[in-house]
């Protein structure tokens, strides 16, 4: 049995953030519409991706350090608690991100994407992967889950890289398709409640992480 699921899962997780209008592509499209130039999308993708990447890196970096410092079981329980807590918080108390600026420049947009991803808990979904990566198959509590060989050897940097590739790819595709073909009219029907789905996913992942 192969366990290459880690990489597609990381990629799809990035895609999920990429297609969420609140996580970047819509900002890029709004800038292009405001400036009446598709070039604005190209210019926006860099800082938005950078901000998102920094947020995910920060969470993963902290997680990797903690994982090395505490027993595996403690790490797993802590990660599960954080996921469950954030999921419940985002699901019950859905305060929206406060920001009132479209004209933000490169670093402004980077900051926005960083804050948006952090507030969203985008990096938290990396915790189960940090838990799996480098873990030995003999780790107590992981008995039901044989470790994929390539995941065991992969660094967490690669995980962040794959996630970011999925994010950037999906964001770029959606931004151009909406800008070129659909127009923002599509927001009225296609903007499903990604945030609520995300909250549920965080909480469910937390529970799974605790139980497996």
């Amino acid at each position: 049995m192969t366990h290459n699921w880690v990489w597609p899962a990381l990629f799809l997780l990035g895609c999920y953030h990429g297609i969420n209008p609140g996580m970047g592509w819509l900002f890029a499209v709004a800038l292009a519409l405001q400036e009446r130039s598709v070039r604005a999308i190209w210019l926006a993708l860099g800082p938005i991706t950078l901000g998102h990447l920094m947020s995910v890196m920060a969470i993963v970096g902290i997680a990797v350090i903690l994982k090395a410092a505490v027993p595996g079981l403690v790490f797993r329980a802590g990660a599960a608690a954080v996921l469950l807590g954030m999921g419940l918080y985002r699901g019950i108390r859905a305060r929206h991100f406060r920001w009132a600026g479209l004209r933000v420049g490169f670093w402004g947009l980077t900051l926005w994407a960083f804050l948006m991803a952090t507030g969203h808990g985008a990096g938290l979904m990396m915790l189960p992967f940090v838990n799996v990566l480098d873990a030995s198959p003999a780790t107590p509590g992981m008995a039901g889950m044989a470790m994929p060989a390539d995941a065991r050897n992969a660094s967490w940097l690669a995980a962040v890289g794959v996630h970011t590739a999925g994010y950037l790819g999906a964001m770029t595709a959606v931004a151009f398709i909406v800008y070129r073909y659909f127009g923002v009219r599509i927001l009225r029907t296609a903007w499903i409640n990604f945030d609520l789905m995300w909250a549920v996913a965080l909480a469910v992942t937390g529970v799974i992480l605790l139980l497996t």
Binding site: P21, G22, L26, F27, V29, A30, L33, Q34, R36, R93, A94, R95, H96, F97, R98, W99, A100, G101, L102, R103, V104, W112, V184, R185, L187, R188, T189, W191, I192, N193, D195, L196
Partner: protein
């Protein structure tokens, strides 16, 4: 929590013009006796309904002396803005504010939109404690929640400003400004969302207006005559532009609904030179603002005995333009002449070269023009608050301004009315003879249409 965006949110003003026709209008009602209870009326706007053109219900406020005036929604189309999206919040709650009492009432229009219920009241003490402001005027839903302008402080002095209200729990977040610069007087505000700029206008502090217009202040040019431009993101004053002290009271702000544009319209109520009213266009260029007078409406000569004491010495009736409104396609500007009793429609496709495309008389200090629904009955009050349907085909108008000022300009009293006009696709306005709403002894002020109207929403995406 909704799974899809609220269906009344539209990315652009152009898309909002496709919205279905409004079935209901909400109208703020002022009790004539200051110690009685104001109310919110729900008016039937569905021409298929047997109750068309009548108030279905009047929801009485629990306290007295509020002076309900303007009001707004908890959320609107700006929820689709890319930088602070909250598209799954519902447009559901009406935020009513007391211009005299400084109370805030939150009314839930669900489950029964014809019978909104008060679900929360924020008392004046709480408003003062958390913001320092009193006398709440304009309410707009925007990127950071609900913004409410205030005329002054607890002592009835300035400065007035803007406060923020959380649109989830309706708690007052606090004073909006981080740096107000020279701004002192307040009244209306709105913004250019594509440029991160807020604009605010000036009326007077509470002590300058609450006992009626003060002739010495007016003749001294002391009422507001400036516009202020603000950094919407950092809450800082950027610059001001002066219409000139001759032009007293710069009131309603109607920016272009296109977020790529940076112009808008404002009315000045009375010129000290000749009692005329004027409409101005502002233009923001990224650093500073210009303002240009584009319409001047002259006073009309009148015999002293036809005039209230305040105006007898002038032997003229001023037009008193007290409200304006801009259609969602930025094409037609409606102008209320509360003094002369006229509603005008201008084509403002070129904002700097407006052309008059329609005019209807109703009421007026001197004319007292009757309504086709009530032939032979002279009407008092005049077109005042004006609201346009999202498709631009219907215009709703009410006739009361502000209690103590009503008494000065219409000393024999105002019988409240709300009327509707139909508009031609290329201009022209006609009164709907089947739509003439009265409200007992209360007087109507602002109208908000179910699902949104031409002044309730702002948009982050160009047409």
């Amino acid at each position: 929590m909704q799974l899809r965006p609220d269906p009344t949110f539209y990315p652009s003003a152009k898309l909002a013009m496709e919205a279905p026709r409004e079935q209901l209008a909400y109208v703020a009602l002022l009790a004539v006796d200051g110690h009685a209870h104001d109310a919110l009326a729900v008016v039937d706007c569905d021409p298929q309904s047997a109750g068309y053109g009548r108030a279905i219900t009047e929801i009485e406020m629990p306290s007295e002396g509020d002076e309900l005036h303007h009001f707004g929604w908890n959320a609107c189309s700006s929820a689709l803005c890319p930088y602070a999206p909250h598209p799954h919040v519902e447009r559901r709650y009406l935020i009513l504010t007391g211009l005299r009492s400084s109370r805030i009432y939150i009314l839930d229009t669900k489950p029964d939109p014809t019978l909104p219920r008060i679900v929360k009241t924020v008392q004046a003490e709480e408003v003062v404690r958390r913001s320092g402001y009193t006398r709440l005027h304009t309410t707009h839903c925007g990127p950071e929640g609900v913004y409410i302008s205030a005329l002054g402080d607890a002592e009835g002095k300035g400065p007035g400003g803007v406060l923020l209200l959380d649109h989830d729990d309706f708690k007052i977040v606090g004073r909006w400004e981080s740096d107000r610069g020279p701004q002192y007087l307040a009244y209306d505000f709105f913004w250019h969302l594509g440029h991160d700029v807020m604009v605010s206008s000036e009326w007077g502090t509470p002590e300058m207006i609450e006992n009626g217009v003060v002739p010495e202040l007016l003749l001294g040019g002391r009422y507001g005559h400036q516009l202020h431009f603000w950094d919407l993101r950092r809450h800082k004053h950027l610059t001001s532009v002066d219409l000139g002290a001759e032009h007293q009271m710069a009131l309603e702000l109607r920016p272009s609904h296109d977020p790529t544009k940076t112009y808008g319209f404002v009315n000045s109520v009375v010129s000290l030179k000749d009692l005329s009213s004027a409409i101005w266009v502002w233009q923001w260029d990224g650093k500073k603002a210009d303002v240009t007078k584009v319409i001047e409406i002259p006073a009309e000569p009148a015999a002293a005995e036809q005039l209230p004491p305040l105006l007898q010495g002038f032997k003229a009736v001023p037009p008193l333009v007290t409200d304006i409104d801009l259609s969602l396609d930025d094409r037609f500007l409606y102008v209320s002449c509360w003094g002369t009793g006229e509603l005008r429609q201008y084509d403002v496709s070129d904002p700097w070269k407006p052309t008059l495309t329609g005019s209807v008389h109703l009421g007026g200090i001197v004319r007292r023009t009757e309504h086709p629904a009530r032939p032979g009955e002279p009407r008092n009050g005049g077109p005042q608050m004006v609201e346009i349907s999202r498709d631009g085909r219907r215009v709703y108008v009410t006739n009361s301004l502000y209690r103590s000022w009503d008494a000065q300009f219409y000393p024999d009293g105002i019988d409240g009315w709300m009327v509707k006009l139909d508009t031609g696709a290329n201009g022209g306005i006609t009164l709907d003879k089947n739509f003439y709403v009265t409200f007992g002894s209360r007087r109507p002020h602002q109208v908000r249409l179910q699902g949104g109207d031409a002044s309730s929403d702002s948009y982050c995406y160009p047409p």
